[in-house]
Symmetry: C2
Subunit: 307 residues, 2 copies
């Protein structure tokens, strides 16, 4: 699981930082999270294949998180896409999107499967073979949602020599990988731990932007391996953060600490900071394993126990 | 007068070419022509001051010419702008813009002065001390308009020595600069050409995108110093150009030749061309003074007689 950040600015982009957009690669499937202006150009720069994007998650309906979507969908269509796109967004966006595409004479060759986000509690919005995605409410000026991507447990790896030693069939191999013991021809019960080694660890990533400090949030992302949390302002601007529905560095770091997160990435930086090291330093004073979001950079998600 | 190209791609941007947006600097006033996705980031990269943009011209309502406008207006507002912005766009855009800003919770601190584009003939849409801007119809799939920016004639420069020689007053100086003769104290008529030298030449720039070949177009931009004309396709794709309402290199060059333009810049290149030299070569075979649009490049407008 790896995360590429396409945009790390707040509402005022700079020449170096584009508006919010993240790409999560899990099992070579690409999940696009928010779609600020310029997302399609950033995807090209990062050489991410458009055809692999089937799920787009929109946290809330502020332009710096959405204004790249029209161009991206239009590009999908011009590229000849026919497979559906699943869009997860606040519930009123379905009608707005349809009307805007119509206004701009955009005729898509593919279906949009719209999954509305709503409510005050976490909801599983995607559940497939490899992972679950849960949406949860944030606390912003308008309805906003975070997303938790959690890989399902991997199968255990069978030790190759054991297959020939005990003449294990394909059907039994599948069961053993799931954790079952094996009964040998002589009736002996071979314990699963003697047949297998652990598979890869399951990883998790959570995206929290935009939000002010919200005391339920650490509970929603408990034990997450990699937490992205906005930190628009330094801690001297707590009142402005409160007023605008954003977080300070301290808010982000406190959330990471209370959640027991593995690593924290902060981003959505206000354009006022030419040098963001002050923001990183502030966050690290509360939560040492803090990194700064950087446009175009890819971060390997590491398991909390491997840090 | 100088032109900076912010985006030279057609509807499918690449990592090197953004969707359409041009900036014309005339008398240190900035005219933004089209506003494709990413315009505000390109403006930052080119270090163009947002506060100097008071007039925005939108050629037509396809996303690759408009989708940067919401973000830009929002940024203007966040930067504290209070001076009005004049937006020249197809007549139905006023309502669409208002509704879209509302949908996205964007409250502007400044007025939008909307000037609708319509009709089948050239119309002067801006006329001030320094220049006129004329809109004229193009031929595309939906209503589309080109723009001609023409500097007004400069005053002649008075020869300094003549002022003291003939004791010319300030009021008379202004009249002489406009071309009047002067009557000396002894009643002698001093011819204007003995008092002045010519001022700078007036320059002109025209923007034509998107359009298929349109036989009235050369007449609309007759004698223009710098002509930007889209050339989405090479000439082997004439049928596709016709079908999509775009131009080939030959169409663009023929228009420049028939208009008697000074220099032609081609752009709005289809993403299929990794190397656009074939497009430039084709256009030059019809109209030798052809340049290729390049994102981030600034072109000095040269008078047709100075080439």
């Amino acid at each position: 699981m790896k995360l590429t950040i396409l945009g790390s600015s707040s509402a005022l982009p700079t020449s170096e930082r584009y508006p919010s957009a993240h790409v999560l690669n899990a099992h070579e499937r690409i999940f696009l999270i928010d779609c600020g202006e310029g997302t399609q150009m950033q995807l090209r720069k990062c050489r991410i294949r458009f055809g692999k994007i089937n799920h787009i998650f929109i946290s809330h309906l502020h332009g710096d998180h959405v204004f790249g979507l029209y161009g991206l969908l239009s590009t999908f269509s011009l590229m000849g896409r026919t497979t559906p796109v699943h869009i997860y967004a606040p519930e009123n966006y379905d009608a707005l999107l349809a009307s805007h595409l119509k206004d701009f004479d955009i005729h898509l060759n593919f279906e949009i499967d719209f999954i509305p986000l709503r409510g005050k509690d976490p909801v599983i919005i995607l559940d497939d073979k490899y992972l679950t995605v849960t949406s949860f409410p944030l606390k912003h000026r308008i309805p906003a949602f975070g997303f938790l991507f959690r890989e399902k447990p991997y199968d255990r790896n069978i030790i190759k020599e054991m297959i020939s030693k005990y003449e294990i069939t394909a059907v039994r191999i599948r069961a053993i990988k799931k954790g079952e013991d094996f009964i040998a021809k002589n009736g002996e019960v071979i314990k699963n731990e003697d047949l297998t080694i652990p598979g890869p660890v399951s990883l998790s990533y959570a995206y929290c932007s935009d939000t002010k400090f919200f005391k339920r949030l650490p509970g929603f992302v408990k034990g997450v391996d990699l937490l992205y949390h906005e930190a628009t302002f330094d801690r001297s601007l707590t009142e402005l953060a409160e007023l605008t529905g954003h977080s300070t560095t301290t808010d982000a770091a406190r959330t990471a600490a209370e959640a027991g997160a593995g690593t924290l990435i902060i981003g959505h930086f206000s354009g006022r900071y030419k040098d963001i090291s002050v923001l990183v330093d502030e966050a690290r004073s509360v939560f040492p394993r803090t990194l700064a979001a950087l446009d175009g950079k890819t971060y390997e998600v590491q398991h909390i126990n491997d840090l």
